[in-house]
Amino acid sequence: MSDADHEMVLQSQNGDTTAFETLVRNHQQMIHALTFRMTGSIADAEDLAQETFIRAFEQIGNFNRRAKFSTWLYSIAVHACLNWRRDEARRYRAQSRCAEEMLVEPTPNEFPGTESESARQAQTALMRLPAKQRAAIVLTIYDGLNHAEAAKILGCSETTVSWRVFAAKRKLKRMLSSSSESERKPRAENYEFV
């Protein structure tokens, strides 16, 4: 943890919301990127980023100052996203019949951060992964964490992370290889929630 973060954490633990606002400013882009990659939606990513910081403030009294603040924050964000996926899965099940009937095709604006067709396909494939596998991919590939660091954030063993990364890569390769074929199928059939 940087000295600046350390001081701000200390003040936040004493209830100083101005100090916590500085912490939010320092880490907001990192958390937004994570929540966007986990949800594929700007609106949900913003809500989850906000939820992450509110939870972090509520729990900051339990933060061990010797730990890295960004890792701790990451852990809160990942778990918020995983819970969001569960809620989303419940909503999905309720609406699945309707979605299947409508045979909704993905629109070009669905993932507004992507520029090319290839990137859009990659984002779609990422969203089709089970949430825990997606979290492993986001942490290890996008954020460049090693498996031990990712395991710490996800609250599981290093072996579990390695397995999730392996399984996720296998699925992504399969999906991206046959993406042109899968695009012809209704979108609702291709989602997988865990």
């Binding site: 990127a33 403030f57 396909q121 390769k173």
Partner: protein, 109 residues
């Protein structure tokens, strides 16, 4: 597809850009929501602690007044039984327990 190709493809997905105003206003938006959260946080801890403390105190009282005397009596009765058994090994004995404690009857062989 190799791992390298897959990672390159995944990394081609960029996070959408947000306007500068968004980044400037986001921390204060969070801060506005922290005030009620912090007030709740300061009020909350007392009640659960009180409930846990009261519950543990009641459990200790129950153990001291009910369970411990019952265990103690059972141990005493067991010792008496062992003692009498050792003293009168060849007699027919009947042991009884009532509100006055342990009794035994001895019969000639």
């Amino acid at each position: 597809m190799t791992d390298f190709e897959l990672e390159s493809k995944l990394k081609s997905v960029s996070v959408p850009e947000r306007p500068l105003e968004y980044w400037e206003s986001f921390p204060s938006q969070v801060r506005v929501q922290l005030r009620p959260a912090f007030a709740e946080q300061r009020q909350k801890p007392f009640l659960p602690r009180l409930a846990w403390g009261g519950g543990i105190a009641l459990a200790c009282l129950f153990f001291a007044l009910v369970i411990f005397p019952a265990i103690n009596t059972a141990i005493k009765n067991s010792r008496t039984f062992q003692k009498q058994l050792a003293e009168l090994p060849h007699h027919l004995r009947v042991f009884m327990a009532d509100e006055h404690g342990m009794h035994y009857l001895i019969a000639d062989q």
